[in-house]
Amino acid sequence: MGQALAVLVSNNPYRAFALASQRTTPDSSHNAPTMGHRSDTTQNTAPLVSMQGITKAYPGVIANDSVNLELLPGEIHALLGENGAGKSTLVKILYGLLQPDAGQILWSGNQWDGSPIYLRNPADARSLGIAMVFQHFSLFESLTVVENIALGMAVPASDALRREIRDVSLRYGLPLEPDRDVYSLSVGARQRIEIVRCLLQNPKLLIMDEPTSVLTPQEVQELFVTLKRLAAEGVSILYISHKLDEIRQVCDRATILRGGKNVATAIPEQESARSLAALMMGENVSTTTRTERSETGQPRLALNKLNLPAKSRQAISLQQLNLTVHAGEVVGIAGVAGNGQDELISVLAGEVKASPNDMIWLKGEFVAQWSAAQRRRAGLCTVPEERLGHAAVPSMSLAENALLTGFHRQALRRAGIITKRRCRQAAKAIIDAFSVQCDGPRSAASSLSGGNLQKFVVGREILQAPDVLVISQPTWGVDAGAAADIRNAIQVLAAQGAAVLLISQDLDELMAITDRIGALCAGRLSEFYPTQSVDAQQVGLLMGGKTALEGVA
C-alpha cells in the first residue's frame, strides 16, 4: 500500500510526461519522488482545483454563466445537473478541450500552488495530473487491451506494461486481461480499460462523465468500490451524473448546476433524492406513477427465433430472439447500449430485413419480408433512439416531420398531392396534445430542445393510434418533465389497448412502467418476467448475460 501511495501521490506535475519511459524500466520505483499520505491530504483543506467564474457562451446559448467549482484532495465530488445544465461544458474546460470566455482555474498541485493555470489542450491537463474517462470510449476494437493502452501512452506494448496493467487492475479491483481483443469485451470491461489507462498516468484528479450509464447495477457497485479506494488514496474524483441515488451513495459533496449556473453545493448524504431533484430541476419536479391497466389481451407482436447476422465483425448479431407482446401491456427490454438494441429496432421497423418468413409475426401475419411502409400501414409504429436525423429530419419543419411517418396512416394527401394544411394540422395536434414548446408547425425540428423534439416524435407515433408501438430509449437526454410526460403517454397508449415494446437503458424507467421485463445482452434476449416479481438487482443479472432467473415465475 505504501508503494502504491508513493506512485499515486506523485509530486511532480511533469511526471506524466516522463512516466512512459520510466514505467518500462524495472527500477522505475526509484524514480518516483514520494510524498504525502492520506492524512496529509485530508488535513490540507486547500482545494486541489478551484474553477472561478467560468463563463462559456455558444452562439445562442450561455452554457456556463460564472460557474464556480471547488474540489478538495481525496474527495468524490458530484457534478449534478439535467441535460443541458452545462456539466459537459464545464468539464471540457477543466480537461482543456474548451477554453472559457471568462474566469480562471486555480490549481494546487505542488509547485503550482493556488496559481492560475491555462489549459490549451488535454495534453496540458494530463501533464498536471488531470485524467478523464469519457462516456464514449476511444478504443480500437481490433486491438488488444495492452495495445490500446500502449497507444494511448505512446509506449510499446511491452511485458512490463502488461505487468503494470495487471498490478493496477488487481489493486483497484478492475479485472482486465491485457491480451484480450477489445471487440470481445463487454462495455463494462471497456470502461475498465479507460480507467486503468488513466490510473497508469498517476492522476491527481479523475473526471468521470456519466460512468454508470453503460453499466449493469452489479458493475456499478464494483465501480464504486474502486472509486472509494482511489479517493482514500488521495485522488480527487469529479463524478458527473444525474442519477441521484448513486450520488447519495458515493459522493462526498455535490455541485449542482441548472441552466448553466450554480444552484447549490450540497452534501448528498444529508439530502434526500427528492430534495436533490428539486435543486437540480427547480420547481417542476414531476414523477411517473404506474397506471393500472386491465388484463392484457391477444398477442399482437411476436418474434420466433429471430436471427440477424452482424453487418461487420464488431457489430452485434441478434440470435434466437423469442418475444411476445400482447395488446394492453408494456414489455420492457433492459440492457446496456450496444448489445443489439439498434439492430433490434431496425429489424422490427423494417429498415433491415430478416431472412426467413416466419420470424416476425404481427397481428396474425408473418411480416419479416414486409417493407417499413407495409408494417406501418399494418399498425406497427416505431420510434428509433436517435431523434435528429433518424426519427426526424432536422432541417424540415414540424409539419413536414409530421408527414414523414404520418402519411402511412393519416390522410395527408389528396390525389397524390401533399395537402400542406393537413400536415400543419397534424403537427398542431401533436404540439397541443403533448405540450411541445415551439413556435408552431412551421418551426424547424432542429430548433426544438431535445425533450420537446422527443415529445413530438413520440406524440407523432402515438396519435397515429398504432396497434403496436416499438420505442427505443424514449427519455434518453430528455429533461425530467418531458420524460415523465413521455412515460405517462406510453402508459395511456397501453391502457387504450396497444401493445408497447419499450427498449431502454434506464432501469428505473423500466421498473416504473413496464408489465413484463427482460434484457438484451450480446444480441440475446433473456426470459421475460412480470416486472413486479423481480427487482433491479435481478434485472441487472439478466443485463449481465444471465438468460433466466432461478426461483422466479
Binding site: 455558444y58 452562439p59 417499413a372 411502409a373 426519427a391 401533399i418
Partner: protein, 355 residues
C-alpha cells in the same frame, strides 16, 4: 490563424441573395480581368451583356441556349436535393442526340407527323439508358455515381464521334464527319419565325414547373428531400434508397436526352461531332445557382445562357479568346460557393481571446 466558425442562425435572406451577390462579384472580377487585358470596361460590358440581347433575334438566341440548361438543371436539382450526384448529364444529352438523330436518319425523307414524336421518344430512351448504367452500378455494387456518370460522358462523346465518322456519315457529304441535314418533318417547329427559338423553350419551362410541383407537393419529391437531408430518416419511414437513385438518374437522363435531341433537331439540324457546348456540365452550375429549386433554375438558366452569348459576342467584337465564357462560368460558381460558405460560417482572425 484564420478559422471558420459555424454560425448559429444562417440568414435565410442571404441564402436567396447569394446568387445575386455572386453575379455582382463575377462582374467586378470580370471587369478587372478585362482591365488587365486592356479592354475598356464600358465596351466590355456592352459587348458581353447588352449587345447579345439588344434585339429580338438576340433574345430568341437567349431562349435557345437557356432551354437545354433549364431542362437539364431542373431535373438535376431533384437528384441533387436527394444527395444523388449525376455529373454525367452531358453524356446522357449526347446519347439522346444520337438516338433521336438516328431515328431522323432512319426515317429520312419520310414526311409523317409521327417522325418527330418518335425522335423525342428515342432521345429520351437514349438518355435514360445511358443514365441507367450508373444507376445499376450504384444500386447493385454501390459504385459511386459521380465517377461512373462522369466517365460515361467521355464514352458518349467518343461514340458520337465514331458514328458521325462512320455509320451515320452523310453519304453525299464529301467525307465530312457529319450526318445528313434532317428533313423538315424531323426538325423542331419554331415558336418565333425569323429566329431559331424552337418549342424546346416552352417545354423547358414546363419541365421546370413539373419538377417544382413534384419536389414540393408529391410524396416522391418529399422522399427525395428527406433522403438528401437525413438518409436514415428516409430508410426508417420506408423510402427506398434504390428507388430514389433510379428515379433521379432516369429522370435526369430522360431530360438530358430530350435536350440533346432538341439540339440536333433544332439549332443544329444534323448530327456532328460536337452537339453541345457543355450544356450538361453547365447545367450543374445552373442547378446550384438556382438554389436547387426548379423555379430558381429558370432564372439561373437565363443568366448562364447570357454568358454563352456574351462570350461569343466578346470574341467577335473585342477579339477576346473563347475561354472567357468558361472563365466567367467558373468565377460565378466560385463566388456562389464562397457566398454559401460565408452564409453558414464566419471568419475569425486569430485565436478568439479568453477574457
Amino acid at each position: 490563424m484564420i478559422q471558420l466558425k459555424k454560425r448559429a442562425n444562417p440568414s435565410v435572406l442571404m441564402g436567396y441573395l447569394a446568387p445575386v451577390i455572386a453575379l455582382g462579384m463575377t462582374l467586378v472580377a470580370g471587369f478587372l480581368l478585362f482591365a488587365v487585358l486592356g479592354v475598356p470596361i464600358g465596351e466590355a460590358f456592352k459587348a458581353y451583356f447588352i449587345e447579345p440581347v439588344s434585339d429580338l433575334y438576340g433574345l430568341a438566341e437567349l431562349g435557345v441556349k437557356a432551354a437545354p440548361l433549364i431542362m437539364i438543371a431542373a431535373a438535376l436539382s431533384l437528384g441533387f436535393r436527394a444527395g444523388i450526384w449525376n455529373i454525367g448529364a452531358e453524356g446522357q444529352l449526347i446519347l439522346g442526340g444520337i438516338c433521336g438523330g438516328a431515328v431522323a436518319l432512319a426515317f429520312y425523307e419520310v414526311e409523317a407527323f409521327y417522325v418527330l414524336p418518335l425522335m423525342c421518344l428515342a432521345g429520351i430512351a437514349g438518355g435514360m439508358a445511358w443514365a441507367a448504367i450508373p444507376a445499376l452500378l450504384r444500386t447493385t455494387v454501390n459504385a459511386n455515381e459521380i465517377l461512373t456518370s462522369l466517365m460515361l460522358t467521355y464514352v458518349a462523346s467518343l461514340l458520337l464521334s465514331f458514328l458521325v465518322h462512320g455509320p451515320l456519315r452523310d453519304p453525299d457529304g464529301f467525307n465530312f464527319p457529319e450526318s445528313r441535314l434532317f428533313h423538315d418533318a424531323a426538325t423542331l417547329p419554331l415558336v418565333l419565325s425569323g429566329t431559331r427559338l424552337h418549342i424546346g423553350a416552352p417545354i423547358a419551362i414546363l419541365v421546370a414547373l413539373l419538377a417544382w410541383v413534384l419536389l414540393s407537393r408529391t410524396l416522391l419529391g418529399f422522399a427525395l428531400r428527406v433522403n438528401g437531408d437525413a438518409p436514415k430518416a428516409a430508410r426508417h419511414t420506408g423510402f427506398g434508397q434504390g428507388q430514389l437513385v433510379w428515379f433521379s438518374l432516369l429522370f435526369t437522363g430522360a431530360m438530358a436526352g430530350l435536350a440533346g435531341l432538341f439540339e440536333v433537331a433544332g439549332p443544329i439540324g444534323q448530327l456532328n461531332p460536337v452537339i453541345s457546348p457543355g450544356y450538361g456540365f453547365t447545367a450543374i452550375i445552373v442547378a446550384f445557382l438556382g438554389r436547387l429549386h426548379p423555379v430558381g433554375v429558370v432564372f439561373a438558366g437565363l443568366v448562364m445562357a447570357l454568358s454563352y452569348l456574351g462570350g461569343e459576342n466578346a470574341q467577335i467584337a473585342l477579339n477576346m479568346p473563347l475561354a472567357v465564357t468558361g472563365v466567367f462560368q467558373g468565377m460565378l460558381l466560385f463566388f456562389l460557393l464562397a457566398a454559401d460558405v460565408l452564409i453558414h460560417y464566419r471568419i475569425v482572425f486569430g485565436q478568439e481571446r479568453r477574457a
